[in-house]
Symmetry: C2
Subunit: 343 residues, 2 copies
DNA sequence: CATCAATGCTTCATCGATGACGCATTCTTG
DNA sequence: CAAGAATGCGTCATCGATGAAGCATTGATG
């Protein structure tokens, strides 16, 4: 029994064996008391109180590693996000953590820099630490992550970008983009008398969100009888510099390009605004820009920037309901974004 | 030995016992091979290769909970951050994760909403999961966290906001604020001919960063012979709305308030800009604003917004050198911020 | 060829927590 | 008052990984 000599080292953590020795009971009783199972285990209220008091005095806290090992249940839920450089993923992370804690889970979030290799590594690391669930947010290769999880017997879910091997919650990108495009085109027409198409900037041609948004972008143009200019569709990646360079390149080869734009994220918007500032400083006085993403400061920059805000609270509610329902089969839930800036 | 029957459940994880059985060796040998200790343990190259191949085939991955329990070493490093709603903490989190992984550690970051109670809860949760180190970033009550860690025999460090019970790495707030204030005052003088003092908005009067910045703010005024208006020092908290309300209140009681400002974070700047937009739309044409924080979009809003960028790479380098040196005694390292927007 | 060393692996206790099982007591009930 | 039920708690195997100690073999040495 005496697994431990009294006061071995001052930094040694207190265990249930220490408490048991002090209380003159068994580790089993201490365990039962401290994990709340003592009524079922028919431990007397007197002993329970004594042990609880002792635990507080001694600053005891469970070793979750040991507990998880024994219970085969870690209570850890992992989330993978691409970046922390924008409000969207930031609010997803913050809210996810709160919701996880409310549910008695321990959230661990990791940021994988939009790098598919890192995503895989991060997922493997999480699995090693025995996560029970992984949420892949905006993953470059969601199906790869699902596969790895499935092989380890761990549930996975996709958020923001859909996959085919796990349930997914995403924004309604087509409809959101269609309405945003329509609104921008309409404003450019009304306010500036322009009937040009828009430029599409940012995102990756390979990801579902971007292709859906381009589809919505095209649909809105078509509905208004405006021909899309294919050379003005620039899914150049998410980095700000990429957007800046893409616009510069477009300008070099086609100085007659349209002025209005559809920008695919705030981080791309950053590059777009930089390009505007250096190359077309008066652009925002003559054309509106739509952004499929939301940033409060960008919102203040000009009335001619229209922003669509993805509905993070609803998306996470939906996600958690899938988690709670232990949904395994791949479903696709589309959440309409909030058209905050739209009239 | 036979801890497990073959193929109990398809979701059951492969263990070293499974591999040992298949390979016809002992779990001990498997363990040694897979954790790289096999040379020391005099395992033949042949067996090692066979086991490694098998591990890959079977999709084996260590159970870090079990490993950590046995080794008494989790390789987990925890970080607590207040919010994910700004570039500063976002870049700290991103970079911290990368650096932790480079060092073979498993980073877990959690966001505590500037709530001291949540900070404590989060620290306790991390300790339960056996973190080896906790970095308290921008903590409301850093010493409380240090105490809890010390009691558990775990190292702690402070970042961004200093504490008295653990080593701290922070920005040189006094000097940074002094120079920013000086620059804003000078610009207001040169460009707008104004010799008014500035308004100080945002932050908490109770935190070290804010008091140091106010000290630098005062020092710069004094050096230029400008009297600070005490009613214009508004450490109203970090939330955007708080800044907006504080300015509104100031305007109500003192409509003669100065126009130039020192804003204590980008999130406060958001509120300031909102107030400007609704109440003083031409303010930025007649006064400059300094912001002790950096945001690329705000930077584009006006040339009259001067921003100081905290030097996250250097701060984290310093932090990791303390971690590597196993520094326990409280020291205070001040890193000069980068005056990006300053001329 | 006996002795000792080197090689290659297995055995087993352990990390801390958990809970099925079982053993004493005390309490009911006929 | 005996038999069974209820109460209260301890024993022990277990979760998966680890490494000190030990046990066979094979190789080297005089």
């Amino acid at each position: 029994m005496g697994h431990r000599v009294a006061e071995a080292s001052p930094t040694k953590r207190t265990t249930i064996y220490d408490l048991a020795k002090i209380a003159g009971t068994s580790a089993s009783a201490v365990s039962a008391v401290l994990n709340g199972n003592w009524k079922k285990r028919r431990i007397s209220e007197k002993l329970a109180e004594r042990i609880q008091k002792l635990a507080v005095e001694q600053g005891y806290s469970v070793n979750m590693q040991a507990s998880a090992l024994r219970r085969e249940r870690s209570r850890i839920i992992g989330m993978i996000v691409p970046k922390y450089d924008n409000r969207y993923f930031g609010s997803i992370a913050e809210r996810f953590e709160i919701m996880a804690r409310d549910r008695g889970l321990f959230p661990i979030i990791t940021c994988t820099q939009r790098d598919p290799e890192l995503e895989v590594q991060a997922a493997r690391a999480m699995l090693s630490y025995q996560v029970e669930t992984i949420i892949a947010t905006g993953a470059t290769d969601p199906d790869r992550i699902s596969e790895i999880c499935t092989a380890a017997g761990v549930r996975s879910f996709n958020l923001d970008l859909p996959g085919s091997r796990a349930p997914s919650v995403i924004s309604d990108n087509f409809e959101g983009a269609r309405r945003l495009t329509e609104e921008v085109l309409r404003r450019n027409m009304r306010r500036f008398g322009a009937t040009e198409p828009l430029i599409f900037v940012g995102g990756r041609g390979s990801d579902n969100n971007t292709t859906e948004r381009i589809r919505g972008f095209r649909a809105a143009h078509e509905a208004m009888g405006i021909a899309v200019r294919d050379d003005c569709i620039l899914p150049c990646g998410y980095a700000a510099e990429k957007a800046e360079q893409a616009l510069q390149r477009l300008y070099d080869v086609a100085p007659d390009h349209p002025r209005g734009m559809f920008v695919n994220s705030t981080i791309s918007l950053e590059g777009v605004l930089r390009w505007i500032k250096t190359s077309q400083p008066d652009l925002l006085q003559t054309a509106a820009i739509g952004c499929f993403d939301w940033d409060p400061v960008a919102q203040l920059l000009s009335d001619n920037i229209l922003m669509v805000r993805q509905d993070v609270p609803t998306m996470l509610d939906q996600l958690w309901s899938l988690v709670a329902a232990d949904q395994i089969a791949p479903v696709l839930i589309k959440v309409p974004p909030i058209s905050a800036g739209l009239v």
